[in-house]
């Protein structure tokens, strides 16, 4: 820290630093779960650990920290956690192998926070079973937003897709780690980030009418200048990519209500 730098006073957890829509969501989340969600931050760097605990605490989580995989497991065994933010490169056992080992048994969702930021690294992380993957340095608020999204998805466990898997529907395959659609002719159809999130929201909630608000909520992060209109635009783009001559309409419009993903996806 440079000399003369004074640490500003921390804003209160519900102060101006939290934009109001954020606050609404957290209140809703808090209303659903009697206790604030418990997040466990695993990182070998003390400053990052402390900083992230601060950030999460300010955002309304109950945050604790572990310096390596061994202490993470001790913490999980004694206190448990709703979400793990896991560093990839740590002395001792690294995050990838810990994630691989943890997946399968009813483990809490994992967000990987890694110094390796390439698409290829991200895909490896997601394929191994991380629920989300963020590269350092990231915007801490984005990390919190992703954490909420992951928790929300875990809570809506009903149709939730496991990370690292492929979902098939109507001859298509949605490759979740790669964020790609593979069409019936085995041609890869790249999706934009928005299209991917929307399609994932649809396949996780098939054969159910979803309102534009719901879709906004599921598919768009809360830094939303996104309006209902944007959902329509994304849906029409997605429809174009899913359109095949002679096939049924996969995403249907339900007038006045929203949209419906009309086919049953299979894992």
């Amino acid at each position: 820290m440079p000399a003369g730098y004074t640490r500003p006073e921390l804003p209160p957890p519900w102060g101006e630093a939290c934009p109001s829509p954020d606050r609404r969501r957290i209140m809703a989340l808090m209303a659903d779960t009697p206790q604030p969600p418990r997040v466990l931050i695993v990182d070998d760097d003390g400053a990052i650990r402390d900083g992230l605990v601060d950030v999460f605490a300010r955002a309304g989580f109950s945050a604790s920290a572990a310096a390596d995989v061994a202490s993470m497991e001790r913490h999980l065994a004694s206190k448990g956690a709703d979400l793990i933010v896991l560093d990839l490169m740590m002395p001792g056992e690294d995050g990838l192998s810990a994630c691989k080992r943890l997946s399968g048994k009813g483990r809490p969702p994992i967000i990987m926070l890694s110094a390796l930021g390439d698409d290829a690294d991200r895909i490896v992380g997601l394929e191994i079973g991380a629920d989300d993957y963020l590269a350092k340095p990231c915007n801490p608020r984005e990390l919190v937003a992703r954490a909420r999204a992951v928790l929300r998805r875990a809570r809506d466990a009903e149709g939730a897709t496991a990370p690292g898997e492929n979902i098939r529907f109507a001859g298509f395959r949605l490759d979740i780690p790669r964020r790609e659609l593979v069409d019936p002719d085995d041609v890869v159809i790249p999706l934009s980030a928005g299209e991917f999130r929307l399609l994932r929201a649809f396949v996780e909630r098939p054969q159910r009418v979803l309102s534009r608000e719901q879709l906004l909520d599921y598919a768009f992060d809360n830094d939303s200048d996104v309006f209902d209109r944007a959902v329509d635009v994304q849906v029409s783009r997605l429809r174009k990519k899913l359109e095949r001559p002679g096939s049924i309409e996969i995403i249907r419009t339900v007038r006045g209500e929203g949209y419906l993903f009309a086919v049953k996806p299979m894992v």
Partner: protein, 537 residues
């Protein structure tokens, strides 16, 4: 040393070649032996002068009676006005005289020339065995008897040299076979073409081969010298004056009897060569298969160091080379692992402090925070481009068929979602084969570059005959013509002042395009820069 023992199982290439040579020589030897053993020797070019004279008489008579040349495959006949050349050959005089007598001509009306004259004792004739001869004799006697020329009398058949060896109650003893003829009256002239005649001290033999002095009883071939007095000639020409004063000439023609012999010999040699060449082909394939496999395996290693090691098989030299390549591959793998580890360490060591800074910035006042975040992002972008460039390995990612149109559309949409002015235009569904992450990086580098210098980027896609063409245009200041090559070099930036980035984006983009068999060029544009990516369609 186990590896050495294992590898020494392969034979050296020289051994394979030697084996092939031995095989070739062996089959050539077998072929020659087959010709020698299986095919009888070709008939000689030399002919018996007496037989040739007889043949000439036939042709001469034919000419006189029918007035045209006899059709004869063996000899060539013609009529000429001038006399053929007269060659003085003392050995041929008896034949000449005899022929003249047979033709009722003066000796000087007959000309005989020969390129070569052989004495009879040079040649040994193969004759049939005694039993066969006796059978022939009996048949002849039967014939004579049927024709009433032979009285119903006992005829003794026995070899002339050894009385009592072979005796048959009825027989025809032919003296040129070494048997005595004991027939009461002499045989009539016209029937006895092969009958012996004595004239001028030269004994004219019948076409049958000469007989041995004492033919053995056993059924084995007998060999004997030519009958005494027989003259053998080759390359001859016999002429005789016709009644009209012209000359009839007979010349020794091609020995057509050779043809079938040549045919058979060709068949044997050809067959051997065919077998040999098939063998050689099989051998060559056997020898080159490991070499081909080797080259494929080495290529695979070149493209992907993580691929299977090269199998150590084939000739010894190849096994050695395969082992060397495998060692190299292992080193390469270790090197790549090292590089990956180093890059990971660099990434960790650079990004961990950045993350700390970013977290510290959260505690700063709002406007300061934004500024710091922006600076941190910039440093992070630099770090990311360094690492991406250093680990750049276009071969690593698998190639898939992908919709380039969707890829470009999603790139534009991602930017548009983030509030940047990026548009895409082009036909739907342009499927090419390529690396999806690699191509995404290529085009996002180009778009990032365009946005760095201008406020907006336009992506246009069109398909041509064998290629797809993607133009990325911006509305920036453009790229001067003299820098259009150098901007693709790593760490080269158009103007160092005021621009961000390490100058690696275009270099990486071009290397990805080239790894796909395409390229990137910068074209003239009315305003801004126009980068054209060509990819094989």
């Amino acid at each position: 040393m186990a590896a050495t023992a294992r590898s020494s199982r392969g034979l050296p290439i020289a051994a394979y070649l030697a084996l092939l040579v031995v095989l070739a020589l062996t089959s050539a030897f077998v072929a020659v032996m087959a010709i020698v053993l299986w095919l009888p020797p070709r008939p000689p070019d030399v002919m018996r002068a007496d037989m040739v004279s007889e043949h000439f008489k036939l042709g001469y008579d034919h000419m006189r009676i029918h007035g045209r040349l006899i059709e004869d495959a063996g000899m060539s006949w013609h009529v000429q006005a001038d006399a053929p050349r007269q060659v003085h050959l003392p050995q041929m005089h008896p034949t000449q005289h005899m022929l003249a007598g047979r033709l009722d001509l003066q000796p000087d009306q007959v000309r005989i020339a020969a390129a070569q004259i052989q004495r009879n004792d040079v040649f040994v004739f193969r004759v049939r065995d005694a039993e066969e001869m006796a059978r022939d004799a009996r048949r002849e006697v039967e014939r004579l008897r049927r024709e009433g020329r032979l009285e119903q009398r006992q005829v003794i058949v026995r070899p002339s040299g050894e009385d009592g060896e072979i005796e048959t109650r009825v027989g025809h003893v032919i003296d040129e076979h070494g048997f005595e003829i004991r027939v009461p009256q002499p045989l009539p002239e016209p029937d006895a073409a092969p009958a012996p005649r004595r004239s001028g001290g030269v004994r004219v033999a019948a076409p049958a081969p000469p007989a041995p002095p004492t033919p053995p009883v056993a059924r084995v071939p007998v060999f004997a010298p030519a009958p005494p007095g027989v003259i053998l000639i080759s390359g001859f020409e016999i002429g005789a004056q016709l009644p009209d004063g012209r000359w009839l000439v007979m010349r020794q023609g091609r020995n057509w009897a050779e043809l079938s012999w040549i045919g058979r010999a060709t068949l044997v040699i050809g067959g051997t060569l065919l077998v040999l060449s098939l063998l050689a082909m099989w051998f060559a394939r056997r020898l080159t298969r490991p070499i081909r496999n080797f080259s494929e395996a080495v290529q695979a290693v070149g493209v992907d160091p993580q691929s299977e090691p090269v199998r150590e098989e084939g000739p010894r030299e190849l096994r050695g080379a395969a082992r060397a390549v495998n060692t190299m591959q292992a080193r390469l793998r270790a090197l790549i692992a090292d590089r990956t580890k180093t890059l990971a360490a660099v990434a960790h060591d650079m990004r961990t402090p950045l993350m700390r800074l970013r977290l510290t910035a959260e505690n700063a006042a709002s406007e300061q925070r934004e500024k710091m975040a922006k600076e941190i992002e910039e440093v992070e972008a630099l770090v990311a481009s360094f690492i991406a460039f250093a680990r750049d390995d276009p071969a690593e990612e698998a190639r898939v068929r992908l919709d380039l149109s969707a890829l470009l559309q999603s790139t534009a949409d991602d930017h548009a979602e983030a509030g940047r002015n990026v548009s895409f235009a082009g036909e739907d569904r342009v499927v090419i084969t390529g690396q999806s992450l690699g191509l995404k990086r290529l085009f996002s580098n180009l778009v990032d570059n365009a946005l760095k210098y201008g406020a907006s980027a336009r992506i246009k896609l069109r398909r041509e005959e064998n290629a797809v063409i993607v133009d990325v245009e911006d509305d920036g200041p453009g790229i001067p013509a003299d820098q259009r090559e150098s901007v693709f070099e790593p760490f080269v930036r158009l103007n160092a002042e005021g621009t961000r980035g390490a100058g690696l984006g275009l270099a990486a983009a071009r290397s990805i395009a080239r790894a796909h068999g395409g390229d990137i060029v910068i074209l003239d544009a009315e305003h801004g820069a126009l980068l054209r990516v060509t990819l094989p369609g």
